[in-house]
C-alpha cells in the first residue's frame, strides 16, 4: 500500500511536469514563434498507390496544435490516474507531442521528409529491436545479458566476411546467428555452469568481440578488402499490396528480408513468452528457479537453451548492419547499439511490447538528430543522443509506474546451494 502511494505520487508529479512542458511549448513554439514561414512535410517515398502531396503547415500553427494535443494527453493521463488505471497512454501522447511541437518550431521555413524520417527511424531501430529481444530472452530466464553489443558485432562481422568470400548474401544471413550464438555459448557456459558474475562476464565478452573483430579488420579486411570485405547486400522487397499503402507501406513493407524476419521473431517471442509452455517455464526460471526445479523443470538446461536462442536473435540483428544495408563491415560499427538495446529492454519494463516501442522511440530520436542537422537546424546533436539514456533513467526511477526486473535475473542457480 505504502509503495503504491509513492509510485502514484511520482506519476502525478510526472504528469504535472509534462503538462508544464507542454504549456511551455505552447508559449515558446506556438505563440512565441512570430515567423510567418511554414514547414513543409514530405509524405512520399515513391512507390505508393496514391501519391500524397507534401503538406505545408504554418510552423506556429503546427507547434500550437501539438502542444494542445500534449495537454490533452496530460488530461487523459490524469483521468486514467483518477480511475486508478495506468496513465501510460496519456503520458506517451504528451511526451511525443512535445517532441513534435519542437520539430515544427525547429524546422520553421524548412522541408522535413516526414515519411523518410519515420522510415529512417525504423531502420535505426531494427538492430535495437533484435538486441532487446536477445536481452529479453536471457533476462526473462534469469541471465543478465550485457553482451548484446558483442553478439551484434559478431553477427555483423561474420555475415560480412562470409557473404564477401562466397558472394552469397544468404550464407551471410545463415552465419550471422551462429556467430551471435557462439558469444552466447561463452556467456551461458561461464554464467550458468560456473556461476561467474554476469555483468562482468558480459562486459568482458564485449571487449573480446571488439578486440577480435578490430584485429581481423585491421589485418585481414583492410589489406585484402576485395576478397574479405566487399559483401553484397540484400535489396528491398516490397510486399504486394501492403507495400503500396501510403505512408505505412514504404515504412514497414518495403524492407529487406532481415526486417521481415524481425517481424516474425518479435511475434513469436511475444506470443511464446506468455501463451506457451515454453514461455511459462522460461518466466518461472527467471523468477524463482528453486520453485521451477521443485516441479521437475531442468533450470540450467532451459536457461542455457534460451541464452543460445538469444544469441541467434542478436547475431541475426548484427547482419542488418552489413548485408542488411551497406554490405561491408566497418570497425566497431555497432557503436553502442547493444547498450541502447539494453536500455530499451529496461525502459520497456522487460516486456516484448514495451521493448519494441522503446527501441522505435530511440531509433526515431537518433534519426531525428541526423535529419535536423542535415536540413540545417542548429540543435546540438548530442542533445538528441541523450534521449535513450534519459528515458531509461526516467523508467528506472519509477516515474511511469513500477519497473521490476525478473526476480532471479542474474542469480546463479545450483540445486545444492539453496538447501
Amino acid at each position: 500500500m505504502k509503495k503504491m502511494s509513492v509510485a502514484r505520487k511520482r506519476t502525478l508529479r510526472f504528469l504535472i511536469i509534462l503538462g508544464a512542458l507542454n504549456l511551455l511549448a505552447l508559449a515558446k513554439f506556438g505563440f512565441g514563434n512570430h515567423s510567418t514561414l511554414s514547414t513543409t512535410y514530405g509524405l512520399v517515398l515513391g512507390h505508393e498507390w496514391i501519391i500524397l502531396h507534401s503538406v505545408v503547415v504554418k510552423s506556429s500553427t503546427g507547434s500550437t496544435f501539438f502542444a494542445l494535443l500534449g495537454l490533452l494527453g496530460c488530461g487523459l493521463g490524469f483521468l486514467f490516474f483518477k480511475l486508478n488505471k495506468t496513465s501510460l497512454a496519456g503520458i506517451s501522447i504528451a511526451s511525443i507531442s512535445i517532441l513534435f511541437s519542437f520539430i515544427c518550431w525547429a524546422a520553421t521555413g524548412k522541408f522535413i521528409p516526414l515519411t523518410g524520417l519515420l522510415q529512417g527511424g525504423l531502420m535505426l531501430a531494427v538492430p535495437l529491436i533484435f538486441g532487446s529481444m536477445s536481452g529479453l530472452l536471457c533476462e526473462r530466464s534469469g541471465v543478465i545479458n550485457i553482451a548484446i553489443e558483442g553478439q551484434l558485432l559478431a553477427g555483423a562481422f561474420a555475415s560480412a566476411v562470409v557473404a564477401s568470400v562466397t558472394h552469397k548474401t544468404m550464407l551471410g544471413l545463415i552465419i550471422a546467428p551462429i556467430a551471435g550464438a557462439a558469444v552466447s555459448v561463452l556467456l551461458a557456459t561461464f554464467a550458468i555452469k560456473f556461476g561467474v558474475d554476469q555483468v562482468i562476464l558480459g562486459f568482458v565478452l564485449n571487449v573480446l568481440v571488439y578486440g577480435l573483430t578490430d584485429f581481423l579488420y585491421k589485418r585481414l579486411l583492410i589489406p585484402y578488402q576485395s576478397t574479405w570485405n566487399q559483401a553484397p547486400s540484400f535489396s528491398q522487397i516490397s510486399i504486394p499490396i501492403l507495400g503500396k499503402i501510403p505512408i505505412i507501406g514504404p515504412i514497414f513493407f518495403d524492407q529487406t528480408i532481415i526486417v521481415y524476419l524481425m517481424y516474425a521473431i518479435v511475434a513469436a517471442i511475444s506470443y511464446g513468452l506468455f501463451r506457451t509452455k515454453w514461455g511459462l517455464r522460461t518466466r518461472s526460471v527467471g523468477e524463482h528457479p528453486e520453485a521451477a526445479d521443485s516441479v521437475g523443470i531442468d533450470v540450467n538446461k532451459l536457461r542455457f537453451r534460451n541464452v543460445v536462442i538469444a544469441g541467434l536473435v542478436a547475431g541475426l540483428g548484427g547482419a542488418y548492419f552489413t548485408i542488411g544495408s551497406v554490405g561491408s563491415f566497418g570497425k566497431e560499427m555497432t557503436a553502442g547499439s547493444g547498450f541502447i538495446a539494453l536500455a530499451a529492454l529496461i525502459f520497456g519494463k522487460w516486456t516484448p511490447k514495451g521493448a519494441i516501442l522503446a527501441a522505435l522511440l530511440f531509433g526515431f530520436a537518433d534519426n531525428l538528430q541526423g535529419t535536423l542537422s542535415i536540413i540545417g537546424v542548429s540543435v546540438p546533436s548530442e542533445f538528441m543522443l541523450m534521449v535513450p539514456y534519459i528515458a531509461t533513467i526516467i523508467a528506472v526511477s519509477g516515474l511511469i509506474g513500477r519497473v521490476r526486473a525478473p526476480a532471479a535475473d542474474g542469480v546463479f542457480y545450483s540445486r545444492g546451494e539453496s538447501h
Binding site: K2, S5, T276, H288, A291, H419
Partner: protein, 499 residues
C-alpha cells in the same frame, strides 16, 4: 500408500546430516518428525523429495523399491512436498503456479488450462479452501499461499505429503485452521509427514512421532507423551519448559508511553493512541497477529521510525525525537525482529558484531584507530558469558546457527547500561535449547529490575513470560490484561473482539 526409508545416510563434508535413518510412514497417517533446527529433518525430507542425493539408503513405496534422483521422480511415485520457503512464483497466478511443470498444450502450442482450472476448483471446494485461480500469488496472505502449495501437491495425486515446518510462518489462528486441514487430508487417505519443532502442534495432530537428534533417530514417541518428555528427547537432556516466575513488586515506573501515534510517509495512521506504563522488574508483552502495528511501535521505541507523535518517557526523560544512537545510550537494549536483516551484519565477524554499537567508544576506539585487542577481549568474554557456540570469534556471524546469532545480539545489547529491554520476536525460528536460553536471559533482566517490553506473536511465549499482556489490533492496543488471562480471552482480543 506407505513409504519406508532404510538406512539413509548423508554427509556434507565432515558433518553427518543423516546417520542411518529408518522411517516408515503408513497409509493415512500423520507422522511427525520432531527435531531441533539443524537436527537433519529438512535434509532427510529433501532426500525423499529428490532435491538432495543420499550417500546410501533405499526407499520403498508400498514395499517396492524405488529410485528418486530428482523431484520429478518423487512426484511420479506420489510424493508431494510443501517447502518451508514456499516454492511459488510471486508474480504468477495461482493457476500458473499449479500447472507449472505439468502444462498441457493445444495443437498450436498454446497453453491449455481449463481442465486444470476445473480440478483446482473441485479440490479447493473439497477441502473448503476459498481460492481464486486467477489471483496473483504475491497478493495472497501467507496462509492462503500455503493452501496453494498443498493444492499443487494434491493436483498431481500426491499420496504422501511432506510438510516442512508448515506452521513456522503462520499466525495462531492460521495454525489452528492448518491443523484442521491436515486432519481432513488424513481423512481423505493422504499420508502426511509433518516436520516441526513445535511440541503443541505435534501433540495435537500426530499419530506417530519420530524424534531426530544430530542426524539420528533417537526415539519413536507416543503423541500422548508430555511436552517435557518430547522436548527432552529432542534436546537430549531434561528441559524445563515453563520457567518459574518470581513475583516482583516495585511500583517505580520506568517507561511511560502516552498518546503515541505513528503515521506512514503519506500521513496515514499505522499506530494510534498508544498508552502504557512498564514498572521496574516487569515484563509487558505486546501480543497480536503479525502486522498489526507491532513492528512500527517497536521501531518507535528507539526512534527508528519517522512520523512519531506523542511521548515516551524513560525515567521521566523524553526520548521521542532523539537519534537512534542517543536512544540506545539512554538505556534501551533493542533486539530487532529480524536478526539477519537488522540485528547483525552477516559478513562481519562475531567480534565485530559485538561492538557495532560501541565501536567508537573507549576502550574499543583510540582516537581514529580501533583497538583490536580490546575488541577481542570483549568478544572472548561475551562468547563465554552467553554460551555462543563457535569455532572462532573471527568467524563471520552468518556462519552461526539462529540461536547463536540471537545470543550475539543479546550479548551486544545487554552490554550497555540498560533500563529498558525491547525484545521483538526474540525466539522466532529458534530451537528449544536456544529458546530456553533467551527466556532465561529475559527473566534475569526482569529480576535485575529492568523493564521489559516483549513483542511476540507466539502466544505460548507471551503466556510464559509476561506479567501483563497488551493485545494490539489494527494499530491500537485493544486491552491490557493480567497474565492470568486465559488463552481464549487473548485469542479473541487478537482477532479484534473486545468483550
Amino acid at each position: 500408500m506407505s513409504l519406508e526409508l532404510r538406512g539413509v545416510t548423508k554427509t556434507f563434508g565432515s558433518l553427518v546430516a543423516n546417520d542411518n535413518i529408518n522411517l516408515k510412514v503408513d497409509d493415512g497417517e500423520i507422522h511427525a518428525i520432531l527435531g531441533e533446527n539443524g537436527a537433519g529433518k529438512s535434509t532427510l525430507m529433501n532426500i525423499v523429495y529428490g532435491l538432495v542425493q543420499p550417500d546410501s539408503g533405499e526407499f520403498l513405496v508400498d514395499g517396492n523399491p524405488v529410485t528418486i534422483h530428482q523431484p520429478a521422480d518423487a512426484l511420479a511415485v506420489g510424493i508431494g512436498m510443501v517447502h518451508q520457503h514456499f516454492m511459488l512464483i510471486p508474480v504468477f497466478s495461482v493457476l500458473e503456479n499449479i500447472i507449472l511443470g505439468h502444462e498441457q498444450s493445444t495443437k498450436i502450442g498454446s497453453l491449455e488450462s481449463s481442465a486444470a482450472r476445473e480440478k483446482i476448483l473441485k479440490l479447493a471446494s473439497e477441502f473448503g479452501f476459498h481460492i481464486d485461480p486467477d489471483a496473483i500469488v504475491e497478493n495472497l496472505s501467507v496462509g492462503v499461499q500455503q493452501r496453494v502449495e498443498i493444492l499443487k501437491a494434491l493436483m498431481y495425486d500426491a499420496k504422501i505429503l511432506i510438510l516442512d515446518e508448515p506452521t513456522a510462518v503462520l499466525t495462531p489462528q492460521e495454525t489452528d485452521e492448518f491443523i484442521e486441514i491436515m486432519k481432513k487430508l488424513r481423512a481423505s487417505g493422504t499420508a502426511i509427514i509433518f516436520i516441526s519443532h513445535k511440541l503443541r502442534e505435534v501433540k495435537a495432530v500426530a499419530d506417530k512421532i519420530t524424534v531426530i537428534r544430530q542426524g539420528k533417530v533417537v526415539a519413536i514417541a507416543d503423541p500422548k507423551s508430555t511436552q517435557e518428555e518430547l522436548a527432552s528427547l529432542m534436546v537430549g537432556r531434561p528441559v524445563n519448559l515453563t520457567e518459574k516466575k518470581t513475583i516482583h513488586h516495585d511500583n517505580a515506573v520506568v517507561v511511560k508511553v502516552s498518546e503515541l501515534n505513528i503515521a506512514d510517509e503519506v500521513g496515514r495512521p499505522l499506530v494510534s493512541n498508544i498508552n502504557f506504563e512498564i514498572h521496574k522488574g516487569e515484563i509487558l508483552a505486546i501480543a497480536g497477529v503479525q502486522g498489526n502495528g507491532q513492528t512500527e511501535l517497536a521501531n518507535a521505541m528507539v526512534n527508528l521510525h519517522k512520523n512519531v507523535h506523542g511521548s515516551i518517557l524513560l525515567d521521566g526523560q523524553e526520548i521521542v525525537g532523539l537519534s537512534v544512537n542517543k536512544s540506545l545510550h539512554s538505556g534501551i537494549a533493542y533486539v530487532p525482529e529480524s536478526r539477519e536483516l537488522d540485528g547483525l551484519i552477516g559478513k562481519f565477524s562475531i567480534a565485530e558484531n559485538l561492538i557495532l554499537d560501541t565501536h567508537h567508544e573507549q576502550p574499543f576506539a583510540k582516537g581514529i584507530f580501533m583497538s583490536n585487542k580490546a575488541v577481542e577481549e570483549e568478544a572472548q568474554k561475551k562468547v563465554v558469558e552467553f554460551d555462543i557456540r563457535t569455532q572462532s570469534i573471527d568467524a563471520p556471524v552468518s556462519s552461526l546457527s539462529g540461536g547463536n546469532k540471537q545470543k550475539v545480539v543479546l550479548a551486544r545489547e545487554l552490554s550497555r547500561p540498560v533500563r529498558l529491554v525491547v525484545a521483538c520476536q526474540p525466539t522466532r525460528g529458534l530451537d528449544v535449547g536456544a529458546i530456553e536460553f533467551v527466556h532465561k536471559r529475559i527473566l534475569e533482566e526482569r529480576e535485575a529490575g529492568r523493564a521489559v517490553l516483549l513483542f511476540s506473536t507466539e502466544l505460548d511465549e507471551v503466556m510464559t513470560l509476561a506479567d501483563r499482556i497488551a493485545v494490539m489490533y489494527k494499530g491500537e492496543i485493544l486491552s491490557i490484561v493480567d497474565a492470568s488471562a486465559t488463552r481464549e480471552q487473548i485469542g479473541l482480543l487478537m482477532a479484534g473482539v473486545k468483550s
